[in-house]
Amino acid sequence: MISFSNVSLVYPNSTTTVLENLSLEIAEGELVLVIGPTGSGKSSLLRLINGLVPHHTGGILAGEIRVDGLSTREVKPGGLAHLIGIVGQNPLNGFVADRVEEELAFAMEALNLAPDVMRRRVEEVLDLLSLAPLRSRIIATLSGGEQQRVAIASALVMHPKVLVLDEPTSALDPIAAEEVLSILHRLVHDLGLTVVIAEHKLERVIGFADRIIHINGDGKTIIGNATEVMKISEIAPPIVHLSRALGLQEVGLSVRDMRRMVQEMHLPNPPDLKISLPPHEKPAIDIKNLTLSYVGHVALDSLSTSIYDNEIVAVMGRNGAGKSSLLRSIAGVSKIDKGEVTVYDTDPITLAGKFRRELIGYIPQEPSDLLYGQSVMQECEQADKDNQVMAGTTFEVLNQLVVGINPQAHPRDLSEGQRLALALSLVLSANPQVLILDEPTRGLDYEAKKSLTRILIEFAKVFKRLVVLATHDVELVAELATRVIFIADGDIVADGPTIDVLLSSPAFAPQVSKVMSPRPWLTVGDVVAALEGDSA
């Protein structure tokens, strides 16, 4: 269905090749996963398939790409619209209409399909992705998960033979991600759709993939079926790391396979541990009856909680449950309707300038919002000056977070992970009492996530500070958080030590705990530590 023959790609004004001499064949009805570190060219590979690269981006392309016999050299992206559906990394930027129905019809209108065909197909796809209740809503007002479904629907409505998705679950909560992936799985099996997905959160997609294309970033690629690639790949979901840690011969890619293998191992059953949060005297952040609503929609409904020093609190919940609203109220950006929020006995909304920087550090969902300098160095110097610290301090912090950032580079040209690190080092250089992060792992690869985890734990432990983060990333929470607050419909439904909250909900349980259940282990590290303790 898709064939790459000897494809090499170089972007203008760049000295490195993104892809080098890549040849591959993707058959009809295959689900192929593209993996690789951030900035390695996964998106470029996807956009090569329908010719957006190089028709839209420029660059030099050698070799040939054919989709269903058509060469992207001869046919422009528009000419492949009936054949290939593409869903970009940020679906909101790719919407061309205001309302759901109009968005779905757009491509069909452009190809001049008859109105009755359009009607039928729109109804079909509305049912397929359960979008019928949203059909006349304005897209900008939908939640992230709903927007993602609309984007997939508007690609599917063309009845394409190939569907290309760039990080389709990065903005979704585990349940919504599961939903989207099972729809794709069904389409592949029922309709013989060919699907190409790029994704960082392998734990979500690995079970569905037939084959994996592993891009290294230096032009090298490994292609093979999922188990083969997972045996050798550095980039792997927790479940694969688990089988390596246990010294298994085979790698299991699904929880079911792994459970079967693990049951033969006769692992110890540790006694039930009762972990309770240590008692505290005075809360650092105190929230009483917090109520917040946007036009006609209640975001937070009389929510009360206290957060203490030394804690790393993960705020979890479905898309649109009110996580960001809670974080923004703590940071003091959103005006609250009712109730009271205090951070170290101060109302955060009154904070400004230096006091704000030293009390609360906040990383918004889009870390680049904080950046306005022309180069990394300029940003760091500005932060040094603002925080009245020695020149070079911020850059040093940045170097501890990630190595090898070119100080002259423009913030826009950094990879997602590097940009987050830059924003984080700007905030950390003020040494705030409270650090708040909104969805920090969007677009981060495992390597970047690991260093983020290390830094946050260090920050909380060494400096005795507290961290609050909102995230959908269950695996991150398992590695990092000491406490989880679970929000639904603007109110807290569960609040307790990470292990209790995560184990009590199957949908939000990390992979390792699903394999190891009923043993209370959340991460590969937990398992290794428990086994070592047992043998000692």
Partner: protein
């Protein structure tokens, strides 16, 4: 749900009003026009991202009016009349006769600077009103395919304004969180860079998305749900044209 008027309607109406303002060339007409479009926007706009662009054009207009009036009264050719107050005059070399910086500020001069500024403001505000009342995406769907390259450019241009408005709010909020003041000129410089980059990136994304969805491939375009020209549209457009005829 109330069906919004045809996408052309408010643009025709606004264009007619804008031309009338220029033809009247009268500050009172300009004020009346601003009041009129303001009233129409407040009562007609949808609760959608593009609906907010009007407020921002209003702010920009006030800013332009202030700057232009200040420059108008201090620099330029003097108009004789009643002196309100006198500024110290900056000496200029002999080869620049007739132009002065500072000096007497007369009521006539102030009035002429104000009235010119008002007309410019009225045009900006009327443009803001049109883009506030019409969804850029709906406009795209009715524009003829034959001019599709041009149409793409128009849509991207008109959708940039509402996007800017939402981005401005978000970026300012983030920067306030970094402890930076959001007042003063340097704050605008800090705002401008991320804003420009974001709107450029978004426009490119939109163009790529339209291309990938086959926009402009077929010379004929079908309609999923027809956008019809209705009696109401005729009435609105006619009211605008009537004002134009009166001018």
């Amino acid at each position: 749900m109330k069906k919004p008027p045809h996408p052309y309607t408010w643009w025709i109406w606004s264009l007619a009003i804008a031309i009338s303002v220029v033809r009247f060339n009268n500050p009172y007409c300009a004020i009346a026009a601003i009041a009129l479009v303001g009233f129409v926007v407040m009562s007609q706009r949808e609760d959608a991202p593009w609906g907010k662009s009007f407020n921002w054009t209003l702010k920009i207009a006030i800013w332009i009016l202030t700057v232009r009036t200040l420059i108008g009264v201090t620099i330029g050719v003097p108009i004789p009349g009643t002196t309100i107050f006198t500024l110290p005059r900056m000496p200029l070399p002999d080869w620049m006769p007739g132009i002065r910086v500072g000096g007497a500020v007369t009521a006539e001069r102030l009035a002429s600077a104000l009235s010119e500024g008002l007309i410019i403001c009225a045009i900006i505000v009327i443009f803001g009103a049109a883009s506030s009342l019409t969804s850029p995406h709906r406009l795209l769907r009715v524009l003829p395919v034959h001019i599709y390259e041009f149409a793409t450019a128009v849509v991207i241009a008109t959708s940039v304004l509402p996007q800017l408005v939402t981005s401005v709010a978000r970026i300012r909020q983030a920067q306030r969180l970094r402890g930076q003041s959001t007042k003063g000129i340097s704050s605008y410089r800090r705002l401008a860079i991320p804003l420009l980059e974001e709107s450029l990136a978004r426009s490119l994304d939109l163009a790529a998305a339209m291309d990938a969805r086959g926009y402009g491939v077929s010379r004929k375009r079908s309609r999923y749900r027809p956008i019809n020209w209705q009696l109401r549209d005729t009435a609105i457009a006619a009211s605008g044209l009537l004002i134009l005829a009166l001018s």
